[in-house]
């Protein structure tokens, strides 16, 4: 599906991966995060060889949001979902509570605090997953179609969140069809087609 692809993504930069359905964007996103292993070639994540890195180590630095938010929901309630990674990494309870509260507020899902995540609408699931991802303070984010299911107002909020993350030096890879969203956030655009990156544009 992807053959002989070479790419360098920079830490503090926001890159967008665009292209038609089936071009391989999600596959590339998963390869870059170590979720799927390349058949050949070398992958370095933050300078370390991905093959020798367990996915949990990568997960401590890179936040990944699947295209279908359902694939990432693990807990019985929204607040447990957001707190999940923190709880098992031994973070103090007060810190967890503050983080969860602020993220619930940021994504406007306080009213869903005790809701069962798998029962929520697509857009609500998406916001829960984003919150859970950001709770872990990742140094780099990979977001696969993050705006599907979000209305204009929520996308604006999300853009503000991303802008703030950029200010703090957090880099990201945005896989998206949403041209407006890409224009608003990306400094570098990589169009993909048939498993290859066909251009490298800086805006």
């Amino acid at each position: 599906m992807i053959d002989q692809l070479s790419l360098c993504l920079y830490k503090g930069e926001t890159t967008a991966l665009i292209g038609p359905n089936g071009a391989g964007k999600t596959t590339l996103g998963k390869l870059l995060t170590g979720i799927i292993k390349p058949a050949a070639g070398q992958l370095l994540i933050f300078g370390e060889d991905a093959r020798s890195l367990p996915l949990s180590r990568i997960g401590q630095k890179v936040g990944y949001c699947f295209q279908n938010p359902r694939q990432q929901l693990l807990a019985a309630s929204v607040e447990e979902e957001i707190a999940f990674g923190l709880v098992y990494r031994g973070v103090r309870r007060e810190t967890i509570e503050t983080t969860v509260d602020s993220l619930l507020e940021l994504f406007e899902i306080e009213h869903l605090r005790r809701a069962f995540p798998l029962n929520l609408s697509w857009g609500e699931k998406r916001r829960v997953v984003l919150a859970a991802c950001l709770a872990l303070n990742p140094q780099y984010l990979v977001l696969d179609e993050p705006t599907v299911g979000l209305d204009a107002e929520r996308i604006r909020t999300f853009n503000r969140v991303l802008a703030r993350l950029r200010e703090n030096g957090i880099g990201m890879l945005l896989i998206s069809h949403d041209q407006e969203f890409v224009r608003e956030n990306a400094g570098r655009i990589l169009p993909m087609e048939g498993g290859s990156i066909i251009d490298d544009l800086r805006i």
Binding site: P20, G22, V148, D151, H177
Partner: protein, 219 residues
């Protein structure tokens, strides 16, 4: 003559205190494309379920009001993974017509027609589960189109498609509209301004008609 008429629809999911839909009425005419927009979690999918009959037939809750429609309703859900389950795209497209006991030649004609219309000929024998998200959504749409529904409900179908495919699907929808079918689409405004005849905003359980992009009447 209305293709679809909904009167005073209210709905509350079990265990919820608030009504997610409150006293909603709307009418859809033949040959019309209606857009339904609004904040996420605001009840758009729920309304789509009410209009297509999924509520109250398959989803429990407190439903009041009534919906009548002329002809068959087809609905494409937001989650493509929940709709494609057969081993090939061809099987997916055949499923609906098979359920309607259509003869094989008719089914073959419909499958060929839809594959061509949606530009999916090369996906005919592929396993839908292995396709990309957008392609799956296209297969889900195809599976409903082979039923030749008179009323088509699309829940965020376009937002998962890339630009080229989106334009293609819009052309298909316009063709269906010209055949006298009714289409209601849940999408964000910006994407379907160019083809929608009327736009409704659903927020806080209430409906409000927005100024028509094509210069139609205001409500």
């Amino acid at each position: 003559m209305y293709m679809l008429e909904a009167k005073s629809i209210s709905f509350r999911y079990p265990g919820q205190t608030k009504l997610i839909l409150e006293n909603i009425s709307m009418t859809l005419e033949a040959g019309q494309i209606t857009a339904l927009t609004g904040p996420s979690g605001g009840g758009k999918s729920t309304l789509a379920y009410c209009l297509s009959g999924v509520i109250p037939a398959q989803i429990k809750g407190e439903f009041s009001g009534w919906v009548t429609h002329q002809g068959r309703v087809g609905i494409v859900f937001q989650d493509a993974d929940a709709q494609v389950f057969l081993p090939t795209v061809e099987d997916e497209l055949a499923f609906g017509p098979e359920n309607l006991c259509l003869p094989r030649q008719e089914i073959a004609a419909r499958i060929n027609g839809i594959l061509e219309l949606l530009g999916m000929e090369d996906l005919r024998l592929k396993n839908p589960a292995r396709l990309s998200g957008g392609q799956k959504q296209l297969v889900a749409l195809g599976g409903v189109l082979t039923l030749a529904p008179d009323i088509l409900v699309l829940d965020e179908t376009l937002s998962q498609l890339d630009q080229i495919t989106r334009e293609r699907v819009k052309k298909v929808l316009l063709a269906l509209k010209n055949q006298g079918r009714t289409i209601i689409m849940i999408e964000h405004e910006s994407k379907i301004n160019d083809i929608a005849d009327q736009i409704w905003l659903l927020a806080e359980g209430r409906m409000q008609r927005l100024p028509s992009p094509t210069g139609g009447e205001q409500s």
